[in-house]
Subunit: 287 residues, 2 copies
């Protein structure tokens, strides 16, 4: 008897539901990792987290046009399907769902999920419509797969909060897990967009992590004034020629409201453009 | 052994899921009828439709504040829980879900479902935010109950279209059925809001159905000009002293776009205020 190759690959919702339905009938717990492909160790850590508590892991690979602004990088976003499938085979994911745009957004599509509150500051302010696109496609994917558990990375901290909010508010029957950011040995947060950087840009990009480490160190040294910490982070970022700051913020980890005095854990979050590539990172600061 | 009384009544999502989960484990097909209570034969026809193809029927009774405008009748909307439960017992519904506002919209709630296109004209124009509230609560209820089939009445024709659109667009795993409008012997469409009418108003309200019948008759007589038909319907409505017209429209039954020449089935739809009570009705006209 042959074993089927892993991952099995499906491109239609009907085939996806058939495959997941069969696994569910076998009493398997279904884990789901939604991705836009260009997979790196961050994504693979989510697949491993799923495998640790589920018997069947579905990974979607879909570059969602609805979450890109008109002037953003949708057209040039890295698409590396063959390499992605090999990586998924390497970690033993069970099913790859690779739908077309027509399968996800057929003609006549006209329903959107809007999250207020946590979706509004930071990325929400810099990228109008971004979280509408994210919330909508994630809800669609959750309804297509109907997993028991879905996995997201802390690197996209605000996205994870928006999805938690949506899942709670809309009573979606799924457990949401948020897994730690995976970093390169030198500290750079893994991101599919790192591939846009030149070797020099790649070096410059280290400044995000450096400024987050500085913030953590200042808090360890009992600095409690957010404005002071943000000013020091800004100084650090601006040591890099041509770095552009979208935001540097210290916020409440649950509400994302700005914090002035640090009396409880706060989230340091930043979005910086290096060589025109927009990079984000974040870190929890514990006083 | 005692049989449990029917319907069983639950007020929390946890108890709802427990009861429905037990029915699902018994391989029962789950039917769901969402209502705002003040049940009449229209609602009961949906329960019967569910019972004809499902082995377990859930009816929700919840007056959804999010679908009422600030100047609408949320506060005075009829609430007749005991009578409703007796009616559900009479038809043998299995489970009544009667949640509190805090259960449906806990503190911090901030996610909304927006349907564009079919939600915009007619009721959408007269009642801004109405369909946002409807789509959001129906998606929530569908996620709470996770039925195989959900039942809606054709009396709220546009609502049914909005829900079909949302279910398709968001890939909600449920079948949507739309059942015929149930009418009083004299033709008045059953509506919980009919109870607002005085005996005189109740008589006046017949003019909605009369004008729809006139439209059907004109089409039978080969009238193909929508403006002519609408003018005759308007004349009929205005025979009633103090009737106020929100809209009278002949529209495409799928898109709700206005129709000028009748060459295919069209939907005649109207919203009329009688004694300040807003009544809607509709009818498919087939040339």
């Amino acid at each position: 008897m042959e074993t089927s190759p892993r991952p099995a690959i499906v491109t239609t919702i009907a085939d996806l539901r058939w495959a997941v339905g069969a696994a569910r009938k076998d009493q398997k717990r279904i884990g789901f990792v939604p991705t836009m492909g260009a997979l790196h160790e961050g994504h693979l850590s989510l697949v491993r987290a799923s495998q640790a508590e589920c018997q069947y892991t579905v990974v979607s690979i879909y570059v969602n046009p609805a979450q890109f602004g008109p002037k953003e990088d949708f057209a040039r976003y890295p698409r590396t399907l063959q390499a992605d499938l090999e990586k998924l085979a390497g970690v033993g994911a069970d099913l790859a769902f690779c739908p077309s745009d027509a399968e996800v957004y057929p003609v006549g599509f006209s329903t959107w999920v809007e999250v207020e509150g946590v979706a509004e500051p930071l990325e929400g302010q810099c990228r109008p419509g971004h979280f509408r696109g994210v919330a909508t496609v994630v809800l669609k994917l959750l309804n297509m797969v109907q997993p028991d558990v879905a996995y997201f990375g802390q690197k996209d901290y605000q996205q994870a909060l928006v999805i938690r909010r949506m899942v709670a508010d809309l009573n979606v029957p799924v457990e949401v897990r948020v897994c730690p950011t995976v970093r390169e040995p030198d500290g750079l947060a893994m991101s599919s967009r790192n591939s846009y950087l030149s070797p020099q840009g790649r070096q410059k990009a280290l400044v995000l992590w450096k400024s987050l480490q500085l913030a953590a160190e200042l808090v360890r040294q009992a600095e409690r004034d957010a404005a002071t910490i943000i000013a020091r982070m800004r100084q650090t970022i601006l040591t890099v020629e041509d770095a552009q700051i979208d935001y540097i913020a210290l916020v409440d980890p649950e509400t994302l409201a700005p914090v002035e005095k640090i009396t409880a854990p706060v989230l340091a979050a930043l979005a910086i453009r290096i060589e025109g590539t927009r990079l984000i990172d974040n870190c929890l600061l514990e006083p």
